[in-house]
């Protein structure tokens, strides 16, 4: 069993890498231990914005703008629509202090060339009638949309499969054996695999796969709990965000997706009453409609997050044929297209269009 490139992990990053490599004519084999999107990508809100409340580190700005446009462009190459809802994002503040708190984010969005808008509470309510009377101020970032994440990674994958790539499910990679600067073999629960290159996109499990090589990378699971409501006839195309990264978006099917705190609790996957009640309250304070809806589902996802909030994109110092693409934290969907593109350039051209030095593994291993 062999291929030019083996990608480990069928999340949004692994499938994006497969897609961009396949577009360059590379034969890819994707190995997924469970099923498509069984990691963070299956729980995500899939919001793609230029900038946002958390601020975009300088190093990521070019990829941010590139990825934002790329995802919209490649939809044409997909066999199913992405269910893009391109209504922009509203960041709401519930009091003076919060208003001061979101101001820097507003300024950053403007700085990145986006025509953002600052609004008083009453203007904001006029602009978005779902906002309740408690909203003090808000700003609007038109450069924000969300997609159906399942369609996105399914789209990346299917477009790669059409170009001759393959995927195998139920294959868990245990170790990647190296031989000098080359890949010796990939050891899995289903036997050994061979490839010239390996792309490691195992999300929160990436560190495990590297540990036999005695390489430690600081990617940890950052849990997010999510509430999905029943579908509803009241419609909004805006993403509505509040402090602490809490936000709502309405899916194409009419359900509201409510997310989400960032918790560092390992892989504990039970929902907790305290957190879901807390963020349901915060969100319903801003959007009173929510108090009238029912929750259809509660679930959790684990974002693969790096300690310095930057992803890891680039080859291992010990072996230039083993490329890591992981640790995108809260914004893996946003950066999926750029990451896939950069990885494909790295493998095919040996260099990338946009610099990725800031994302190298060496920043942790020196």
């Amino acid at each position: 069993m062999s291929a030019d490139v083996i990608i480990i992990g069928g999340g949004v990053i692994g499938t994006a890498c497969a897609y961009f490599l396949a577009r360059r004519g590379v034969k890819v084999l994707l190995l997924e231990r469970n099923h498509l999107g069984s990691g963070a990508s299956g729980a995500t809100a899939a919001i793609v914005s230029i900038s946002g409340t958390s601020g975009t580190p300088e190093a990521l700005r070019r990829l941010n703008i590139e990825s934002y446009h790329l995802i919209l462009d490649i939809e044409q190459d997909f066999d199913q629509p992405l269910e893009v809802i391109q209504g922009g994002a509203l960041y709401a503040a519930m009091n003076e202090q919060e208003a001061r708190g979101i101001r820097p984010a507003y300024e950053e969005v403007c700085e990145m060339g986006i025509d953002a808008q600052w609004m008083k509470g009453s203007e904001a309510r006029h602009f978005e009638p779902l906002l309740g009377p408690n909203v003090e101020a808000a700003f609007y970032n038109p450069a924000s949309y969300h997609v159906n994440p399942f369609r996105l990674y399914e789209g990346y994958l299917n477009a790669a499969l059409r170009r001759g790539s393959r995927i195998e499910y139920g294959v868990q990679v245990r170790e990647v054996k190296l031989k000098d600067d080359a890949i010796d073999r990939i050891i899995t629960n289903k036997g050994d695999y061979h490839a010239d290159w390996v792309v490691l996109a195992g999300g929160v499990h990436t560190p495990e796969i590297l540990s036999p090589l005695e390489i430690e990378i600081p990617i940890v699971p950052a849990r997010g709990q999510v509430i999905l409501t029943e579908a509803c006839s009241v419609k909004t195309e805006h993403i509505i965000s509040f402090l602490d990264h809490l936000y709502i978006k309405q899916t194409a099917s009419g359900n509201f997706y409510l997310g989400s705190h960032t918790e560092f609790v390992g892989f504990e996957n039970r929902i907790t009453l305290e957190k879901i009640a807390n963020f349901a309250q915060v969100l319903a304070y801003g959007v009173p409609l929510l108090a009238r809806l029912r929750a259809l589902r509660f679930f959790v996802g684990f974002r693969p997050i790096c300690e310095d909030n930057l992803p890891i994109i680039g080859p291992l110092p010990a072996c230039s044929k083993l490329v890591i693409a992981s640790g995108h934290g809260r914004t893996g969907v946003r950066y999926s297209a750029s990451t896939g593109k950069a990885v494909s350039e790295l493998i095919v051209d040996g260099k990338t269009e946009h610099p990725i030095d800031a994302f190298r593994v060496e920043r942790f291993t020196k």
Partner: protein, 591 residues
């Protein structure tokens, strides 16, 4: 339209014998006054007034009506006093109510007062029993007799579970005999519960919807959010009906056999006029007889199993001569009344313009394979599907119990030992939720579970429990042999699922067709969670109860997956949708 309302006026779907209803009250349906009585559900009022179509589904705009009648399918959503998506079949009518039929999701009126924020209550008890059916109540009675304090939680408005369905309080019973033997048995059990009311607390209209911190049960009761801890837990959560789709099965007028029974037994309303029952097992005969009692025209009963193999199991079957005799007498009466008894035949399709008008049936062989050339059609307005039951294991899954696959008792069931204890210490099971085995087994298992749970809670010693459980166990052995024989005779063959065309809706909630599911499978997945994400199958109100078993059956029959290898879909809270307002109270301060 006019013609419809004409038939509505001349028909009286209410069964008047045996009971007197509560006070007549005034309500409106779509602005028009409708007849309603205290104690009736909105669903019963609609059925009694001749409404078949209750709403149009949001996705495909196809008409839907009452289907399960027990609050599990969410097919009957109506708007009540400005609040959309209320389940008609489990919501009581109130004087002055304005009921509107929905097109799609319904409209939320923000000018109406919103729901009250939830109130958090912490509670502790010795023994909690989830499910107030025969299993749960039997457990409660014996445990209370032994001295335990017991709390019984059930989401139904009334105790009794499926078979012992009671009538709402405002109804008065003049002639209990007209209500059948199950009603009497239920009354007898409930009066035992009543006598022990100093130790048994019954909590109805309360749903267990989540399990926090491994053992803390989250319960909704009105606007209360109860967090309950108990020394011992008995899950007696019963079963759901097995969905078997055919083209047209979402049309108004197609119901589950159990749903039809709920209307007749606990609301005294006829589900229709001319009926076909299609399914398998003796339950169908029970329902058909209840329909004759109710004065309905039972056109045909189609049994999918060829019971020719029955003689092979004769020694075990005659262990319960009473039950066999009862079955035969039901059959005799049906034949004598001129009901077409089709066996082995299966339902192939339901047809009709906006509601059931015709049903197409086909003959099958002993393994449920279609025999070409043998089809027939019957003109009916109601089709009842009764293809057996599937254990409801949501709660035991959430409690972390190990489950095993056993198709003979309905599929995935919690593992349990001879104390009815699961692999989770202190968690016991009984009744249909532990494997489909009927009311007699449910009661005995309930008693055993009650005894050992009482022992676990420290109320009696394990020796005491063992002594008292001894007779129950002996009776169970005999019952089990009988039951196993019945399960063989009425087994479910994969070919039962042979009539699902690409256009057939499989996920009723989300309007997903079999064709869409097949496409997802062809794209390379045999995983239920993956199929769910790719197609939305199972993402609806019913949490997949009415579609996941079908997807599993399709994977097995059409794509060669072994049913026991098809993992259960990841179980997540809530058990049923819960209002977010429940989380809006002072939850944080209390934890």
């Amino acid at each position: 339209m006019n013609k419809m309302s004409e038939t509505k006026e001349i028909k009286n779907y209410r069964i008047e014998s045996g009971i007197r209803r509560g006070k007549e009250i005034k309500i409106t349906i779509d602005g028009k006054p409708a007849r309603a009585y205290e104690g009736e559900t909105i669903g019963a009022v609609l059925a009694a007034a001749g409404y078949r179509k209750i709403r149009r589904a949001p996705q495909r705009k196809d008409p839907r009506g009452l289907y399960c009648c027990m609050g599990s399918c969410y097919g009957c959503l109506v708007t009540v006093d400005g609040q959309p998506n209320v389940r008609a079949c489990v919501t009581r009518v109130e004087p002055g109510q304005k009921i509107e039929l929905q097109d799609g999701f319904g409209w939320i009126d923000m000018d109406m007062p919103g729901p009250k924020p939830g109130r958090l209550i912490h509670q502790q008890t010795e023994l909690v029993i989830i499910g107030g059916g025969p299993a749960g109540l039997s457990a409660a009675v014996v445990a209370a007799k032994m001295g335990a304090h017991v709390l019984v939680i059930d989401e139904n408005l009334l105790s009794g579970g499926q078979i012992y369905r009671q009538l709402p309080q405002p109804f008065q019973v003049d002639n209990p005999a007209a209500l059948g033997i199950d009603y009497a048995d239920g009354q007898a059990l409930l009066s035992q519960v009543e006598q022990l009311s100093n130790r048994i607390t019954i909590c109805n209209d309360a749903l267990v919807w989540a399990v926090f911190d491994s053992r803390q049960l989250a319960i909704t009761r009105g606007s209360e959010l109860v967090l309950l801890e108990a020394k011992a837990i008995i899950a007696a959560t019963g079963a759901n009906e097995r969905p078997v789709p055919v083209p047209g099965w979402t049309l108004p007028g197609v119901m589950t056999a159990g749903g039809a029974q709920v209307l007749m037994k606990s609301q005294r309303v006829r589900p229709g006029t001319r009926v076909l029952l299609a399914g398998t097992g003796p339950l169908q005969l029970v329902v058909a007889n209840q329909m004759l009692d109710a004065g309905m025209d039972v056109v045909a009963v189609a049994e999918s199993a060829s019971t020719r193999s029955a003689w092979r199991y004769l020694p075990d079957l005659i262990r319960q001569p009473g039950l066999i005799k009862q079955g035969l007498s039901y059959m005799y009466r049906l034949r004598k009344t001129g009901v077409q008894m089709l066996q082995p035949w299966v339902l192939q399709a339901v047809e009709g313009d906006h509601q059931v008008q015709r049903a197409v049936l086909g003959k099958v062989d002993s393994q449920c394979r279609s025999i070409p050339g043998y089809t027939t059609a019957v003109d009916v307005d109601t089709v009842c599907l009764g293809y057996g039951l599937i254990p409801s294991v949501w709660l035991t899954t959430m409690l972390g119990c190990r489950h095993v696959y056993n198709p003979m008792v309905g599929g995935w069931v919690p593992y349990y030992n001879e104390h009815m204890q699961t692999d989770q210490t202190g968690v016991f099971v009984a009744g249909d939720g532990a494997g489909i085995a009927g009311v007699l087994v449910a009661r005995r298992q309930g008693t055993i579970a009650g005894l050992y749970a009482a022992a676990h809670a420290g109320v009696i010693s394990t020796e005491q429990a063992a002594r008292a459980a001894h007779v129950e166990r002996r009776a169970l052995t005999s019952l089990r042999k009988f039951r196993r024989a019945m399960d063989h005779v009425y087994r479910i063959y994969p070919e039962l699922y042979a009539n699902i065309s690409d256009e057939t809706i499989v996920c009723r909630c989300e309007g997903i067709t079999a064709g869409e599911i097949r496409n997802a499978v062809r794209a390379g997945t045999l995983n239920l969670n993956d199929i769910k994400k790719r197609t939305r199958t199972g993402m609806g109100y019913c949490q997949g109860t009415h579609c996941t078993p079908v997807v599993a059956a399709m994977l097995a029959r059409e794509f060669g997956a072994k049913t026991e290898d098809i993992e259960l879909m990841t179980t997540r809270p809530p058990a049923r949708p819960i209002p977010l307002s429940l989380l809006m109270g002072d939850v944080k301060g209390n934890i």
